[in-house]
Symmetry: C2
Subunit: 303 residues, 2 copies
Amino acid sequence: MEYIEQYQRYAALIEATLNTILPEGKMLCPPEGEMPGKLSEAMRYSLLAGGKRVRPVLLLAVCDMLKGNIEEALVPAAALEMIHTYSLIHDDLPGMDNDDYRRGRLTNHKVFGEGFAILAGDGLLNYAYECMLSNALRFKDHLEGHIRAAEAVAKRAGVSGMIAGQCVDLLSEHHDPDADTLFYIHTHKTADLLTAPLMAASYIAGATEQQRTALERFGACVGVAFQIDDDLLDVEGNAGEMGKATGMDAQHGKMTWPALVGIEAAKARSNLLWQQAKEALDCFGEDARFLQAFADALAKRKK
Amino acid sequence: MEYIEQYQRYAALIEATLNTILPEGKMLCPPEGEMPGKLSEAMRYSLLAGGKRVRPVLLLAVCDMLKGNIEEALVPAAALEMIHTYSLIHDDLPGMDNDDYRRGRLTNHKVFGEGFAILAGDGLLNYAYECMLSNALRFKDHLEGHIRAAEAVAKRAGVSGMIAGQCVDLLSEHHDPDADTLFYIHTHKTADLLTAPLMAASYIAGATEQQRTALERFGACVGVAFQIDDDLLDVEGNAGEMGKATGMDAQHGKMTWPALVGIEAAKARSNLLWQQAKEALDCFGEDARFLQAFADALAKRKK
């Protein structure tokens, strides 16, 4: 199957799973086990806003590559998208980046108010774990693999992962950039949540240690390259194509790779990382066709 | 052992566990697996602010009562306190209740700023699951019980539990109170997170269905009574004793039981619920001594 068709097939599975596990609610005070209408509306507004589904697609693709049961991986994949979405909702809040637009639409707090945006974000984060735990109990024969997968997600999304990166990012605003801090921010703020689906899939599908190490290396390279490209697009892109305001990094005094080494050196660094990402997949041979194409496609984002 | 000594013994175990799993961090960009100093400082500020530890104490007490291994329950108990604390940090934010004081100290965002308070809350929530998952893998012989415990916590803390209650609470501000909505808010905003430790302990210690049902009933009564008392204290208490501003419910237009039925009827309702809570424990006989004393002690809070 062609790369694009395969990507669309994965994305459609994720869309369907998200719609199933987070249905529209209608009542203010719903029956036991359901969520209030306004809460599901706020969560769905950001979750079903047409994201690229990069993280869950990675999880399904790696599960497929390792000959795992994709049925078992659907909910963990959806959970990763929920975690990614919660982080965007909270990032956009006035107390954080104070952004009005995201994926071409008003940000969550602009539509539902700050209080609801905080709760919608909290809700998505908590629900991600609730769903992964229930899913693990549904596939009890592989309980330990599922719990190792959920733990890998928690570590990379958490206080020594993505949240650590966001904190250092916040603390580094309006400071002169240095390479160590920048590498820490990119590794944790961005790469960790791209490595999370690879690790989760490796546990769900029962990968070898060698395969897991290769996937981790792939994720680390892709993640940092992805963030450098994001920083480049913020400098060189235009708001219409990006679906959000550009030039925001400079305005917020963010530490970025272009600010540290200049635009050309940042592009060279990104190119090298994309190449290293693809080399990390060598041990999978032909089976890694989809991941190779995925890296090529993502690398093309930058101008 | 006397009730108060026993409570202090449990509380000391929880304090020690919290300090172990969330140590002080010192570096801006720490080594792999550690958290940035400022993040742990913000999380510890609220987590170690001398709370009563009601929820984790309940978890340990029920585990003890059911002859479970308390060693296995320490981290889930600490995780519940992290979830409770994150909900307070986010509740106090300007976009939510906008409170300046909590437990007699400045609220998290007043000390660390809004961005950090959002991240510290997110961090505590995510870390609660990270710790429960790692703990489950540590006690692999009881893996399924631990995962059922974590799932029970997730359900009651989440979008059909505590967060659902917070949403309906927010949506009901400045509306005329009605009994159904009020019951929904109290059940979910407050009772669910008091039932969570009971359910978690029941799975960790391997309770019977009958025992679990009794504990669930106990939690539902305690939780609603606890919230009615909180509402009464907000009307009748004084800020010095409470460690936070009083009279805030009226100021925020909150739906409360005293506002619906008056102070005396609210007190009668609370008294009845405390009595029903204690009756729910009948099936445990003498083993429920601690829980009975716990209910008596909490019931005395209100004026």
